[in-house]
């Protein structure tokens, strides 16, 4: 190979201790076992560092200051300070905008007022994280079975369409209407998931291709449903749906007056987490899923029908994605429009990356969703405060996932002790 040998082939640490000792401090070498958490934290660090460089290289004042310093051989200290301040201001806005602003917090603490404003960032983060948790767990369960569900976005949209139809066109008391709406979302997503499921089980069509293509089919179905069916808001020519009945919405936890958007949806997400933990660890179907994912041949040999598993996986995964879609609509907008979960607003690809970030485990996925939601919400706050585009948050997210997906790269960059096998998602092409 033209490349350097991979760490697993590389000489072990003990082979050249003096060479290693010069490169890295001893305490680091001792500390640096490659646990998944270490890898994720390091990936996040790399993402933040790369983000910082992007901010520096695209900020006109910073660049001008550097140019000035180089031309006049001086004021490097001022330039460095400006650079640092620019980056720090961006990241400070990101943190205070997504978690807690200490100034506001102490103000609220001392005066007892303004709690709404203080808690808004964390409430927004939780609001964004809610559908992400649900969809990512759906994707994660499929991944654990060795099935790549790239179509979570389409399933979420179809779930939202079905749920919106129930929520806005049927009128029931709340204790029936809300469950019906959520169940309709699950069914919508499951139906959408069944298409690749059935095709894979009965024709062998590769699920990655089918789900990927189906995302775009569903986008078109969404526009059709919102412009040419009874779902469209009466009297409108735009692609916008009817509004949810007030009996079918997931209301804000602290009432509508508080202005905090965090809703009862987080209990739905919590229920999904509990379900997923139980399902994967305790249920027999979940056991079959994991066996199939670990070794399909062994699973088949032990009498597990692969067709049933494929169909069941897509039912569960699609259903959860559909639930994510309807929770998103029912807890925030209370209607859907043509841009719902389309393009950069989509949660499907984010769910894939979060599932990877959380090592496919429900609890890990909760942390991953909170992180990504915080980055998204913080990016918005950063754009408002400093003018740096919120896309920086997406860039950081992508970089983090690129590193998490290739753990060997991190172990090389940080010269960790070899531990590449700590986590590597089973590779899945469409050739095999």
């Amino acid at each position: 190979m033209s490349e350097r040998p991979s760490p697993s082939n590389a000489p072990a640490l003990g082979d050249a201790p003096e060479a290693r000792a010069r490169l890295v401090p001893r305490w680091w070498a001792r500390y640096s076992s490659t646990s998944p958490i270490t890898l994720t934290v390091l990936a996040l660090v790399l993402g933040v560092v790369i983000g910082a460089f992007i901010i520096m290289l695209t900020s006109a004042p910073v660049l001008n200051s550097w140019r000035h310093s180089f031309h006049h051989f001086g004021s490097f200290a001022g330039t460095l300070k400006l650079t640092f301040d620019t980056v720090a201001a961006a990241y400070r806005a990101m943190v205070t905008g997504s978690i807690l602003d200490p100034t506001l917090f102490f103000h609220s603490l001392s005066t007892g007022n303004g709690w709404d404003q203080t808690l808004t960032p964390i409430s927004e983060t939780l609001t964004y994280a809610t559908p992400l948790v649900i969809a990512s767990i759906g994707v994660g369960i499929a991944f654990q079975t060795g099935i790549f569900n790239i179509g979570a976005n389409g399933q979420a949209i179809l779930g939202a369409i079905a749920g919106t139809a129930v929520a806005s066109m049927i009128h029931l008391p709340m204790f029936l209407h809300l469950p019906f709406t959520l169940v309709a979302g699950i069914i919508g997503g499951a139906v959408c998931g069944m298409v690749p499921g059935v095709l894979k089980a009965y024709t062998g069509a590769h699920e990655v291709i089918v789900t990927l293509m189906f995302n775009y089919v569903v986008n078109a179905i969404l526009i059709y449903a919102l412009t040419s069916t009874a779902l469209q808001l009466p009297g409108q020519s735009n692609d916008i749906s009817r509004n949810f009945d007030s009996t079918a919405t997931l209301n804000p936890l602290f009432g509508t007056k508080s202005g905090l958007r965090v809703s009862y949806g987080i209990f739905v997400a919590a229920a999904v987490v509990v379900f997923a933990v139980w399902f994967l660890k305790r249920s027999s179907l979940g056991f079959d899923f994991r066996i199939t994912g670990a070794n399909p041949n062994a699973a088949r040999a032990s009498g597990i029908n692969p067709k049933t598993i494929v169909l069941a996986v897509f039912l569960v995964s699609g259903g959860l994605s559909g639930l994510a879609g309807i929770v998103q609509a029912a807890s925030t907008t209370h209607y859907i429009d043509g841009g719902f979960l389309v393009g950069s607003a989509g949660i499907g690809f984010t769910a894939i990356t979060i599932a990877l970030l959380g090592r496919l485990q429900p609890i890990g996925i909760v942390w991953g969703s909170l992180l990504f939601a915080a980055l998204g919400v913080g990016g918005r706050a950063m754009q408002a405060a400093t003018g740096i585009p919120l896309d920086l948050a997406t860039i950081i997210q992508s970089v983090v996932v690129l590193f998490v997906a290739s753990p060997v790269l991190i172990t090389e960059i940080f010269r960790l002790r070899s531990g590449a096998e700590s986590f590597q998602l089973a590779n899945k092409g469409w050739g095999s």
């Binding site: 089918v210 078109a220 412009t227 585009p389 860039i395 992508s398 290739s406």
Partner: protein, 434 residues
């Protein structure tokens, strides 16, 4: 590894599908297509309605030696006739089950396309325009098809070497952004193309680095690379392009007319009066199909994608071949991005709007072959252009169903409903030396 594979094959013999049954399906589909044409486009237009096609492109004063006069036809009867021919083709396919079933289906598709155009521009009809410029439709379709050809060729290259390239969209975005900026500064599309190639190859290198060297999952890497490129482009658009509009002026390259050939009616303006990007695309198709199937390099690329272990045992450096091919593929897609921005003018975030995924679909629909990819690209290019054109002319049909078309036929092909595809055996499987 090898022994394991053998047992799997023995345990589950490869599914043998009777091609004859599939031809029946194709025949049935053709019949449905024809009936749809007769009902929707034939009987769906008023008895006295007529449609007019014109054939001289609007903006060309090429001084052709002879021009085609506008063609005016009675919409209902022509569409009934076109539908009847399609039905006849379908019946023939159903009964005789010939080897060329797909070709007949394709002819039915072309007739469908003509019938749709006739129906869309009928007078009296809902559309404000009373005639339709057939040549312009072809030119517009081909400009989209050209970009798809670049993208699907990139996919063919990468996947033949065993690396799944979902990041075509990302390479498009990178090429388009770089192309728009470089061309705005230097006013030269040659330089823009060069930089676009470099940016595409850079994305390809990143894909190869993570996929070949660090054994990361290629589908996830591809998806994330698209997200990365689209957020980078959106970021740069706000931070750089918005404050400096002279970096995004939106030049468009001038057409290069080939003498004599460009004077032929319809064919001339469509094929022989194009930008250089079109001619380069044609050249690339020829080069890549020759290279992949007639040269030693192509044999190496294909062997690495089909059976890397065997390839290595005869002394081929699998990683190096994959690196170089994926970077080459990235470069082709990057050039496609420049070609795209040359058609579109100014860069905006999200401007590629999933064209890279349609290119991916075209590559799969084209059975991982350059020639198939070209046919699929043209087909998808026509459908994508018609969606835009019909929406702009306020034709009251749900164009959403046409938007779905490329994806649905790709799913049908993957599922083996029409035709059958087989990807390279080790497509997407990272190769780890023992």
């Amino acid at each position: 590894m090898t022994t394991l594979d053998t047992t799997v094959v023995v345990a589950e013999p490869p599914r043998v599908r009777a091609p004859v049954g599939r031809r029946r399906v194709i025949g049935a589909l053709t019949i449905v297509l024809g009936l749809f044409v007769m009902l929707a486009f034939g009987l769906g237009s008023v008895a006295g309605a007529h449609s007019q096609f014109t054939f001289t492109p609007v903006n060309t004063s090429s001084g052709a030696p002879w021009n085609l006069a506008p063609l005016t036809v009675l919409t209902r009867w022509w569409n009934l006739g076109l539908g009847l021919v399609t039905v006849a083709l379908g019946v023939e396919t159903w009964v005789r089950r010939p080897a060329g079933a797909l070709v007949r289906f394709g002819v039915g598709g072309v007739l469908f396309f003509i019938a749709l155009l006739l129906w869309a521009c009928r007078e009296p009809g809902p559309s404000p325009v009373s005639s339709l410029n057939f040549t312009s439709v072809l030119i517009g379709s081909l400009s989209i098809a050209m970009v798809l050809i670049y993208g699907s060729l990139s996919g063919v290259l990468c996947e033949r070497s065993g690396v799944v390239n979902i990041a075509i969209e990302g390479q498009f975005i990178g090429g388009a952004l770089a192309g728009a900026m470089v061309d705005s500064v230097t006013n030269s599309f040659w330089l823009a193309a060069l930089v676009g190639i470099l940016v595409g190859a850079l994305v390809g290198w990143l894909l190869a680095l993570l996929a070949v060297r660090y054994l990361a999952d290629q589908i996830i890497i591809g998806v994330v690379l698209v997200t990365l490129m689209s957020s980078v482009s959106s970021y740069l658009n706000i931070q750089v392009l918005a404050p400096y509009p002279n970096l995004n002026v939106g030049n468009q390259p001038s057409n290069v007319a080939i003498p004599l050939l460009s004077k032929i009616p319809i064919v001339g303006p469509v094929l022989f009066n194009e930008t250089m990007f079109f001619y380069v695309a044609v050249l690339l198709v020829a080069l890549i199909s020759f290279g992949l199937f007639r040269t030693r390099w192509g044999l190496r690329v294909r062997s690495v994608g089909e059976h890397p272990k065997a390839a290595e045992s005869v002394g081929i450096n699998v990683a190096r071949v994959r690196y170089s091919t994926v970077m080459l593929g990235g470069a082709v897609a990057g050039l496609g991005g420049v070609a795209f921005i040359a058609v579109q003018g100014q860069f905006q975030p999200g401007i590629t709007s999933g064209l890279g995924y349609i290119a991916l679909a075209a590559m799969i629909f084209g059975k991982w072959k350059p020639s198939g990819a070209v046919v699929a690209s043209i087909l998808f290019g026509v459908s994508a252009y018609l969606v835009d054109a019909l929406q702009n002319e306020n034709v009251p049909i749900p164009t959403e169903f046409m938007t779905m078309f490329p994806y649905l036929v790709t799913i049908a092909v993957v599922a083996g409903l029409i035709g059958r595809v087989r990807p390279p055996a080790n497509d997407g499987v990272p190769y780890k030396r023992d």
